[in-house]
């Protein structure tokens, strides 16, 4: 149960930092030279990658970029969303 909560919190954090990066990406579409915005985007983009990697390490990959090159295809054997595998 404790792990499930951590999983949900981590998933929620991924959504939030992803939103930060996506929303600033929209701003950068019209302000491509804004250095402050670029730094903001890079900060949250990196936080997103770290959170995705942390999630993948504990609970399995959320997308193809998070799939480790080991000897098991975790995508197929981790819990499905209807099995509590996603939030």
């Amino acid at each position: 149960m404790n792990q499930a909560k951590n999983r949900q919190e981590l998933f929620s954090w991924i959504n939030k930092v992803s939103f930060m990066a996506y929303d600033m990406a929209l701003y950068l579409d019209t302000h491509p030279q804004d250095q402050q915005a670029l730094a903001f985007f890079q900060k949250y983009s990196q936080m997103r990658r770290q959170a995705l990697a942390a999630y993948a390490a504990q609970f399995g990959p959320l997308n193809m970029d998070c799939i480790d090159n080991d000897d098991h295809w975790h995508w197929a054997t981790q819990p499905w969303p209807w099995e509590g595998g996603c939030c």
């Binding site: 939030k16 939103f19 930060m20 600033m24 701003y27 019209t30 302000h31």
Partner: protein, 73 residues
Amino acid sequence: MHNCYQPNNCGAMPYTMQPEGYTNSVNCTCYLAMATVPWQQFTSSYEPEKAFRIGTVFPELDKPFLGRGVMRS
């Protein structure tokens, strides 16, 4: 060709450009106007929790769009 997409509620609907100019065949009260929009400048941002809840990173775009009962806490 109709100018307004909603003939019964077209007070703010645009005219349609036609070869002879702007016409008003639906008898709505539309007026030409020029709009100016200031260029957004990134100065501050919400923290992730609040930005995600509000729906924008930018405080200057956090408008009270509450006409349809949007829930905010």
